[in-house]
């Protein structure tokens, strides 16, 4: 599918680059430096024995970060479109989730205590701060955080879309529909669902088999996710006939801070969270400090609460056809009060 998309781009005179995120892209030098120089250093300063850099680079998450860094490099090099082969759905989900997880870990690590740590030379020799000011772990981690934040922003960019392919079989359609709900909840729009390797009557397929695959394609279309559905045969079709490969094709409603709609009512605030498919009927919602978390299929989507809701208590939530509606009431212990002591 990725190769077909790249070919379609070339036919339209556009420059596309394919990045293989299933470890084919290799370890990015920056990711290797992060893992060995920073994480390894943190462990060494905590008393762990040093590990060879290749050990760190072999971690799956380092490979996924490498793939995202390769994507960023391709964009910086001036490519019109970067096509990322995410592999199976589970890998695609990990790839999308990774920057957010790393950001939260780094946020937890960037404490004043870490800011006070100074570099300890491997040989124990003293350093001269005047000639070679050593970066602190805090400064190193802060730099990594900035890079990872840019990767997360690129993933959540409105121009980023995903196209999912499945076989016209019941299990495969089930998985792709749940993946569509999950990926949309993670903030990335799914613009196309491809029923791949569909049989044709001209190829001698039995009438019953054709009816079964028609039923599965109808399930994809009946989900009304917003993504465009099309069929592909043994000859892979990157986009439906007559469509441009760069779209627009379709698009699912994504969940992020901009699409979460806040409404002030008489005695409460209501926050509408757009969700599609199974996420709308199964997702749980919770709160931790100033963040709202939506959980579905083992993935947690973190959203920063609007300022007014940080002074409120979440009382309940109801499911709507468009997602979840969460109710908040002012928390009078932290609510702004006027000089007479009444709520302002």
């Amino acid at each position: 599918m990725c190769a077909a998309t790249a070919e379609a781009l070339r036919e339209e005179g556009l420059r596309g680059v394919v990045v293989d995120a299933t470890s084919g892209a290799g370890t990015h030098p920056l990711a290797a430096a992060w893992s060995s120089a920073s994480l390894g250093r943190l462990g060494a300063e905590a008393g762990a024995d040093p590990l060879p850099a290749t050990h760190w680079a072999s971690l799956a998450s380092i490979q996924q970060l490498s793939a995202l860094l390769h994507v960023r490099d391709a964009l910086d090099a001036g490519s019109d479109t970067v096509i990322v082969d995410c592999g199976p759905l589970d890998r695609a989900r990990q790839l999308l989730e990774l920057p957010t997880i790393v950001l939260r870990v780094l946020d937890a690590a960037l404490t004043p205590r870490l800011a006070m740590r100074r570099r300890v030379p491997p040989d124990g020799s003293p350093t001269d701060p005047a000639t070679d000011p050593p970066p602190t772990l805090f400064e190193e981690f802060e730099g990594i955080r900035g890079e990872v934040a840019s990767l997360a922003a690129a993933l959540a960019h409105p121009a980023t879309t995903m196209r999912l392919a499945c076989l016209p079989e019941a299990d495969s359609v089930d998985r792709i529909l749940r993946a569509t709900a999950l990926i949309s909840m993670m903030g990335v729009s799914v613009d196309g669902l491809v029923a791949n390797r569909c049989g044709r009557k001209a190829d001698g397929w039995a009438k019953e088999l054709l009816a079964q695959q028609d039923a599965q394609v109808a399930r994809l279309e009946g989900a009304h996710s917003g993504a465009l559905v099309w069929r592909s045969t043994t000859r892979v079709r990157a986009v439906p006939k007559g469509r441009s490969v760069v779209g627009p094709l379709g698009g699912t409603a994504v969940l992020d801070e901009q699409t979460a709609h806040l409404t002030a009512q008489d005695e409460e605030y209501v926050l509408d969270l757009p969700l599609v498919g199974a996420a709308a009927t199964e997702a749980q919602v919770g709160r931790l400090d100033d963040a709202l978390v939506v959980a579905f299929d083992g993935v947690h989507r973190w959203l920063t609460l609007p300022p007014v809701l940080r002074r409120c208590r979440a009382t309940s939530a109801v499911r709507t056809e468009a997602g979840l509606r969460v109710s908040f009431v002012p928390d009078m212990s932290v609510w702004r009060q006027d000089a007479r002591g009444s709520a302002a």
């Binding site: 919602v285 931790l288 979440a314 009382t315 109801v318 056809e321 468009a322």
Partner: protein, 163 residues
Amino acid sequence: MTARRQPWWFSGDDAEQPDAVVDEDSGPDRPDGGLDEDSVSDGSADQGEPEPVVTGSRPGGDDASSNGIEWTALLAGAQRMVDWATEKVLAPHAEHTDPADHPQCVVCRTMVLIGEGRSLVTDDEPVTDPQGAGAEDVEAESGPVPATGEIMWIPIREQVREP
């Protein structure tokens, strides 16, 4: 020529000062030749540029020991402060289990202010099932009680079908 006496607040860790010694025969600042008692900290005559000084008398008075500090008096005072703190603050605080219940206690109030006063979760506290089971027990009017470091799951009460 003798070494000039440093002010009481000067640690002496800095580099040598070229004017660290003066001629003791140089005249006093006051026109009458006497010493201005308000401009000295320990009864000795400081000369040269004006220095920050402490006015008033010390417990030892002008008859204090040669280094200007009465260590015995200081130690006795410190011991009395420790005894007082033990008797009036620490002993009552030892019986306080939840700092939030004792706003009059200095230690409890300090713990609350620095954010370490939250008591640990006890067995009799309500627990919300992360998957929503048992969430009906949480009253809608009061709302879920936030817990530090844990996601507080919001009860999803009903299904609304929009036309």
